[in-house]
Point group: C2
Chain length 485, copies 2
């Protein structure tokens, strides 16, 4: 196995570290820093591009100070433009647009409200003025802060609400001293507009990073990771003779899928700010990706449970080597893995998931059904012993693995259906794939009625896990699967 080797290397490093002492460690870190920096940039070169873009945007906005005509017009408020560029410029277009729009809208609204309050307070006389302003500032800051807790507001308008409090306080409070409040508000608004415009311009027109495309690719990538695990699982678990070294480390790619929920939700929120780009039209159903992501994660939880049996030494107790169960389990695993990889490819390239994925799913489903009928006949055949007394303990791991694999096959089907549903949305354009094997597709469509022993994904379960929207379409499909069991 690969893992003991990894542990040995760790021990070696530990021994090396303890011999070189503290100074050596610090030196090592200093020497390694540029290498780490380089590797970090190479991992995602868009990080370097983004950094250069921020530098450029800041440079552009600082020109406001250097050119006399600009400076005469704006004066010291030009600093608001720099401030806006620095705080608004984000990695993806969606995030930048969201922050920029939030900032502009909130500044205008709060500015107008602040001016109104200032005017009202002015009418009330010198003594009542600060008291009135104080009451308004307290009430507005408290109530808007409370609104910021609402998950929906937090997801899309958190920054805007913050800027709303800020601008309202600045305008209404500073208005007490500054009689030229209108001019100040006007200058501030224009500098913020200039700053936001520069940030958005540089972000959109120089190597843009689209949050929507990132979301699309990461959902596809996650499905692919699960596929890779399943493809490798069978060989690893049954330790097929002649398969060479095992690659446990290679199978751990799915870990990142388990905790992908938050980043997907963030990206979906950003993506909704973005205009149409590349293959994605304006009203692309970004929220639907979260549903596919949820199904992927649920599948990943099963895979995590399954992976627990990989490291188990109990697996060697199995008395069912060289028999049909092993073959069928391996088939379920590898075929559903291939299906998931095909689906990931279809999603990534936006090609209708067709023949290849469906035929793999059909095969994995057929293997599950074969296993089911084999289990139905008798136990002796499964245990691979001739007697009538079966030591159940020996077959527990294999039965569990088969059962989990059967559930994973059901999830692969569910993911296929969800991608088909995505392709059917009004504002989504999936390329139609060449239909080499129409029969495979048809047989897959009908095969959902031949489901195995563990089709346990029901409407209730999905409804509670999915993102606050009813998922009637998928739900009804599962209802059908369920009633067919």
């Amino acid at each position: 196995m690969a893992s003991p080797a990894v542990r040995d290397q760790d021990n070696h490093n530990d021994a090396e570290n303890s011999s070189i002492g503290y100074c050596g460690k610090v030196m090592n870190k200093v020497v390694e820093f540029p290498r780490k920096l380089k590797k970090f940039g190479q991992d995602d070169p868009r990080r370097i591009v983004h950094s250069l873009k921020v530098g450029l945007a800041v440079l552009l906005v600082s020109l406001l100070y250097y050119f006399q005509p600009f400076y005469n017009g704006l004066g010291d408020t030009a600093m608001w433009a720099i401030l806006t560029v620095v705080v608004v410029f984000e990695f993806s277009v969606g995030a930048t647009l969201g922050r920029g729009l939030n900032r502009i809208l909130a500044t205008f609204l709060a500015g107008a409200l602040g001016f109104g309050v200032h005017h009202l307070a002015n009418l009330s006389g010198d003594i009542a003025h600060p008291i009135l302003i104080g009451i308004f500032v307290f009430l507005l800051a408290a109530s808007v802060t409370f609104i910021r807790f609402f998950p929906r507001m937090k997801a899309r308008y958190d920054y805007g609400l913050l800027i709303f409090i800020l601008t309202f306080c600045l305008i209404s409070v500073s208005g007490y001293r500054d009689e030229e409040i209108l001019e100040m508000a006007h200058k501030r608004a224009s500098t913020i507009l200039i700053g936001a415009f520069i940030a958005v311009f540089v972000c959109v027109f120089i190597c843009p990073v689209w949050a929507g495309e990132d979301l699309h690719n990461s959902v596809a990538k996650n499905i692919e990771k699960l596929g890779s695990f399943l493809e490798g699982f069978g060989v690893e678990y049954f330790k097929v003779v002649g398969s060479g070294e095992s690659n446990l480390a290679h199978l751990q790619g799915y870990f990142s899928v388990l905790n992908s929920k938050q980043s997907e939700e963030t990206q979906a929120n950003f993506a909704r700010w973005e205009p149409r780009h590349g293959r994605f039209r304006y009203r692309h159903p970004w929220r639907y990706y979260l549903k596919i992501g949820n199904l992927t994660r649920q599948c990943a939880y099963r895979i995590d449970t399954l992976s627990g049996y990989l490291n188990s030494e109990v697996q060697t107790l199995l008395n069912i080597q060289n028999n049909q169960v092993q073959e069928l389990c391996m088939k379920m695993s590898s075929e559903s893995g291939k299906a998931l990889k095909e689906l990931a490819w279809a999603l990534k390239t936006m090609t209708e998931p067709c023949s290849a994925a469906s035929s793999h799913i059909t095969k994995s489903r057929a293997a599950a059904n074969n296993l089911k009928s084999m289990l139905r006949t008798n136990a002796a055949a499964v245990a691979g012993v001739g007697g009538d007394q079966v030591r159940l303990l020996d077959i527990v791991p294999a039965v569990t693995v088969a059962s989990l694999l059967s559930e994973i096959v059901a999830y692969a089907e569910a993911i296929e259906k969800s991608i088909q549903k995505l392709a059917s949305f009004q504002h989504v354009q999936f390329k139609s794939a060449e239909r080499k094997k129409p029969t495979a597709l048809t047989s897959c469509k009908t095969s959902s009625s031949n489901v195995g022993p563990h089709h346990v994904i029901t409407m209730d379960r999905l409804a509670s896990l999915q993102v606050q929207e009813s998922n009637k379409e998928i739900g009804s499909k599962f209802q059908r699967i369920r009633s067919a069991v």
Copy 2:
């Protein structure tokens, strides 16, 4: 089952909604808004308190404008104090302190650097000045933006790095015009200090919300949620006669555990900024909570897999009612559930996990071992039929459930050990519990060598899942478990 009733209610609501039309819906929403607001506040009253605190802090800082002596000293830069209060004030003390310190440190460092660059550029003559400043601004903005991508920097210093870019640009660029740069820097620094001080003061001394305590409680709460599920699972799965209505909805509390990673990491990062408070000393090992959280989540993944069998209609095919397997599975489930609840209570109250939890774990482990030996004897007894030919298909779900429960028992043990490890840290004070049942504790300690068929949590697996630090202590314990299998 409760779920069809829930669905019926949904349908009823749908029918009602469609009959009242769009205007009615809007009216409904308007009428319901205050009710929602109230409920949202009642769910966590700290939200209301926090909102009032923000209002108070903003009110306090706006006094800088109203009192002549303050205003004469600070002038228009008083607005930086308002800005600081609004952007620094966060829900928890740790977050506020982190942002405040980041802002102050970054302002000072960037101010000094900006002043240095400004001075250097001044020496170089009028033509070279803007070019030099431009080059510096570009390079600094780009390189600091790149550093912000590093996960470690992002976790703790993201806001500081942003403010660093901002202040450097403001000072070095505006310095081109403003000869009174030192005075400006001085005023800005003092207003930011005043703002940060007010924010931190209000946040810490009026009903403080400690991120560390939140993390502590949420990790304990998550363990309790898993316990609640396991306590209810047995009855629900085997549909014990006379157990009354099932409560599937009640069992869904563990859902939130599955995606708790990110919030726990955020809270741990905030907690590291906090001084000692309540039961937590200064160097409380907050990072260790992430390890307990990881174990809890891995257990939750198994529970999610297990819960798939709850909704399955296949479970009714079981031919093993009224036999010992059912009893043992129920015992494993309920005892490990009770153990987890005891552990959650111990963690929450910081009492050394002792007799009660250990005895429950011992009982669940004993049930697992009994099941194991029963499975070892023969198959017929399990299937509850007299013949020698067992229809394996019928016992597949039960075997899988038993196997998963056995793994969950192992996780409960692992969680117990991790809490014991937490209690043993140098800066952690756990109250010692009254040791009513020392024998139970002892037997639990030794029972780890009698592990069941699925002790599949190995060193490799833990190491890869845990948070970038070696977990040698827990690891070696598992190594022992593993070698004992």
